[in-house]
Every structure is written in structure tokens, then in C-alpha cells.
Symmetry: C2
Subunit: 322 residues, 2 copies
């Protein structure tokens, strides 16, 4: 990631200025809330994808930077709303906006960021870009709602799970890459390649996130492990394990999901079930498969520093520990 | 309202079909939540404004109907989020979505409706319309946040209040009328006239709503009076009264706003203060002024049934009892 940051250092600097500049509002409190979350050390994966894709496709000026900012605004809006939905107290080790100010500002500032993003896009007037983004945010909401519907449902299948993470995560990363392609005015083949690249990177990103929720230490991830299970989110490591688990193991997990509180001991027991049935190994293999598919998409591009950076970013996604 | 419904009966029927048709989603639960709120007997003021404005401007076919549906989707999204923000148990006498399903689906289905609305607009490809709507939803979020910032603030001025209601209510009614004008391809003068008409009708609409919260009976409004005060919303009847109130009266209201629960007796006391300082009369006069301004805007249009309907709708706004 360090090398990538150096390669696009100037764009990343413009990005921070753009975030500041585009966040115009008559209400200073909105800025306060957005700053809290935008500045809390996110990895900026989505804007970095916009920038690298645009540069790979030959964008010479900086017109992709405001779009990178817009994609980060949309991501920020979803974080604000997610934290309300999940009743999350902290994110990346920092108190969430809903913990500090309550649910109300989180809902409304999220709405502001969504609307502002559309307003900025419409004003810029590239219908293709607006279409990609509005389709992505619609899918995003559907993915989150699907996840909600499947909460604590031990019958959740791998296909259900794939549909949830494709919509809630992969489509926005896919959109980020496709926007770069649109701004770079490349042909349909390259645009499709970048869209697919983003999709597979997004799938691997979420698969890795869901694995880390079982194995990361509190200090590296900036969050407690077991959060997903406590929120009733049944992710692939557990889905795969349950498919082969004994009735006893299944009943234990079902019972757990009905309990108001999951203890550390309960969680360790679930981890044992996952390990016994290769839940982590299976998830890691799916994740690696997606990364391989992602990387293959870039074969249509000639070698360049930006191509190398995207390939490295893909590898980073599965190897990261936070 | 009965006459207006007859005049545009065919459009209103198409509207209901359009709402159904445009609400495509892979997630059936979304439809369930949206149906609950869309079908719960709203007055459809915003789509009616789109339809009447479009017809007044000479729209012959039905291409304005999907836009009327989109404006109702956006309104529905704000209702879903408002009910979370206000922690409302009922709306128009029906349980709110957040009461039935919890805050999570309300937040996410609201997000879905916002995104879907933008997606439908972008796909239809009239940049002017998308611009008007995205500006309106941005202002809407700002208005709601301003209101939140001013919660329980007895120092709220009439100017603060005007800014809040202009953004949270008037801009969307204004946008509804302006969309009709854009679709009718009228000149700038007429487009501006309809935008201003919608704005003033919107201001009067909210002023009337805020008065009704002090005087409506539970049965007609389908909600309990005093809701605003209990939520710490300081509206014009009280703002005006406080400007002339004695220190004793002011202290009583300040003290009240810090109490966890406002009793019926407290509320009656506040109403007395409002009556003593002509808070209702003053608000009614402001509301009537806006309606007069709204109606004057329509002078640029030749007489027609649609013009008459808009003028009657404006009068209905201030005279309604629910």
C-alpha cells in the first residue's frame, strides 16, 4: 500500500482537498460529523480504485479526483447508516458518530452525503457515471436489507451469502473501477474488464473481512473479533462449517444465535466448529479465487505502473491483517 | 381535493400503477415495508403537484406520471428516516415502519428508495429534472439537520425556523412543481413561477402543520397534538409567543423542554402562553401570506381547469384540518 500511495501521491493529496472543497453546506454541524468519520483513518480503498483505474486508462488531468471523493462520500454515508443499523459503538477503534451524537445525525448526515453525491454528479453531467453509481447504491441498499432479512438464520446458504456480499460490498468497488474506465474513455472490453476486476476484488475484500472477524486480534483490526456473530451475521466460515457440522454442533450454533449475549467461551466453541470443518481454509480459497479472477481481467491492459499497482492492491486485499 | 382528484383521475390511477411498476427489487421485504407506508393513506400532495403542474404546462401524454411516483418515493424515504429520527410510534394513526420492524429496515429501505429514485431519473435522462431533485434532497437533509441542531433551543428565531421549514418541506414541493414545468417545456418565466408557487405552498403547508400540532383533535389529524413540543421542536406559534412572553412564561417553557416528559397540563399551559401572545394568529397570517404569494405566481398562466385546481389546492393547504 505504501508504494501505491507514493505512485498516486499527488492525486491522493488532491483527493483530500476535493473532499474538503465539495463538502459545501450551510450547516457546520454536518461538516463536524463527516470530518469525524472521513478523517478516522479509513483505507480509502474505493477512491484509490477510482484513481488507479482512471490513470491506467490514460486520464492525464485530475478530473477523476472529484469522483474519487464522491465515491468516498457514498461509502461514508453507508458507514454512518450501517453503524445505526448495527448499533455499533466503535469503528476502527474510534467511537462511532451514533455513539457520540446519537442515531439522528447519523441517519440525516448519511442522507445529506448521498444527496450531495448525486447533486455533484448530476452537475458534472456524465450520465454513464451517474448511472453506474445510482445502480451501485441501489444494490448496496438491497444487499444490506438482504443481510438483515438473513440475520441469525442458520439456514443461510453460500449462495445467499454471495448475493449479500456482492451487493453490499462488491458493487461499489466495481463501480469505483468502472468510473475510472468511463473517465478514461476506454473501449467496452476494457471498461468491462475493470468493472469485473473491481467486483472480484470487492468479493475477496468482504470474504477477508469476514475471516478477520474470526481471527484478527483487537489491536490490529481496531475492532473486537466476533462482532459479526454477535450481530447475527452468518458469514462464509460458519456457513461452510455448518454444512458439514454434526447435529450437536448445529444445535449449539442455533441456540447461541437466540441468546441475548454471546460469551467469549461460546465464541471459542464456534471457532472450534469452524476449524473442525475447514471453514477458514474454504473461505480463504474462495477469496484467493476471486483475486486470481480479478487479476486475469487486467490482461487486456499493457504493462504500466498503474497496472502493477492494481495487481498489488488485489494481492494486498487477501493478505491484509486489518 | 375531491374535485382535483376527479380532474386528474386517470393520472392518479396511472400513478398507483407506476408506483407498483417502478418498485422493482430482488428483495420482497422491501416491497412489504414500502407498501405499508405508501399505502397508509397519504395525501399524495407532492405527486399531485407534479401532475397538475405538468398538465398546466401542456403535457399531453403521461410521461410526468413516473416522475410523480419518484417524488412520492423520495417523500416516503424521508418519512421512513424521519420516524427513526423522531422515534415516532405512529403516523396518520397507523403504526410506523420502525415500530413494526425496528429502525434497521426503516433506515435501509429509505436508502433503497432514495437510490432507486436517482437510478430511475438517471435512466430517463433529463439532467434538469435530476438536478432539481438532487438539489431538493440535499436541502431536505440540511433542513432536517438544522432542525435537529435547534432542538429544544428556546432561542430559535423566526429566521431559523423559516430556514428549517423552507429546506425540510418547501423545497420538495417546489421541486415537484418545477419538474412539471420542465416536462411541459415552458419558458423560464413560467418555470420560475411554478417553482415559486411550490415553494410558497410548501411554506404554508408546514406552517399549517405546525399550527395543527397545537390545535387538531386526535381523531382528525391521526396523531396526538403536542408531538412537536414533546420532540423539542420549537415552531412558529411558540417562537412568536416567546418573543413577547414574560420572563416567567419563558422560564416555564425552558424548564419544560428539559423535562423528560411533558404532561397534558404542561401542554395546556404552553397553549395558553401561545394564545396570550397571538402565536396562532400570527402563524396563520404568515401562512395566508405565503398562499397569496403562491397564487399570484400563477398569473402568468392563462385560465384552465389545471390552473383553477392549483389555486384551489393552495387554498386547501391553509384551510385543511388534517
Amino acid at each position: 500500500m505504501e508504494e501505491i500511495s507514493q505512485l498516486i501521491a499527488s492525486d491522493l493529496q488532491s483527493l483530500e482537498q476535493s473532499i474538503e472543497k465539495l463538502l459545501t453546506t450551510r450547516v457546520s454541524f454536518i461538516k463536524e460529523v463527516v470530518h469525524h468519520i472521513v478523517k478516522s483513518g479509513g483505507k480509502r480503498i474505493r477512491p484509490i480504485l477510482v484513481i488507479l483505474a482512471a490513470r491506467l486508462c490514460g486520464c492525464q488531468d485530475e478530473r477523476h479526483v472529484p469522483y474519487a471523493a464522491i465515491v468516498e462520500f457514498i461509502h461514508t454515508a453507508t458507514l454512518l447508516h450501517d453503524d445505526v443499523v448495527d448499533n455499533a459503538r466503535t469503528r476502527r477503534g474510534t467511537l462511532t458518530a451514533n455513539t457520540i451524537w446519537g442515531n439522528e445525525p447519523s441517519v440525516l448526515v448519511g442522507d445529506f452525503l448521498f444527496s450531495k453525491s448525486f447533486d455533484l454528479m448530476v452537475a458534472d453531467g456524465i450520465p454513464d457515471v451517474s448511472g453506474v453509481i445510482s445502480k451501485a447504491t441501489t444494490a448496496l441498499a438491497e444487499g444490506e436489507i438482504l443481510e438483515l432479512v438473513k440475520t441469525s438464520d442458520v439456514e443461510t446458504t453460500e449462495a445467499d451469502y454471495a448475493e449479500i456480499i456482492a451487493n453490499k460490498t462488491a458493487v461499489l468497488l466495481s463501480a469505483a473501477c468502472e468510473i475510472g474506465a468511463i473517465l478514461g474513455c476506454v473501449d467496452t472490453e476494457k471498461r468491462t474488464a475493470l468493472r469485473e476486476f473491481g467486483y472480484h476484488v470487492g468479493m475477496a475484500f468482504q470474504l477477508t473481512d469476514d475471516m478477520l472477524d474470526y481471527i484478527a486480534s483487537d489491536t490490529t483490526l481496531g475492532k473486537h473479533t466476533g462482532t459479526d456473530l454477535r450481530e447475527g451475521k452468518i458469514t462464509l466460515p460458519l456457513i461452510h462449517a455448518l454444512k458439514q457440522a454434526s447435529d450437536e454442533e448445529k444445535n449449539f450454533v442455533s441456540g447461541l444465535l437466540e441468546k441475548p449475549r454471546i460469551t467469549k467461551k461460546d465464541f471459542e466453541q464456534v471457532k472450534k466448529t469452524i476449524e473442525a470443518h475447514d471453514g477458514m481454509g474454504y473461505t480463504l480459497r474462495r477469496s484467493v479465487e476471486h483475486i486470481e479472477k480479478a487479476k486475469r481481467q487486467l490482461e487486456v491492459f499493457s504493462p504500466s505502473d498503474y497496472k502493477t499497482a492494481l495487481l498489488n492492491l488485489a494481492d494486498y486485499i487477501v493478505s491484509r491483517r486489518m
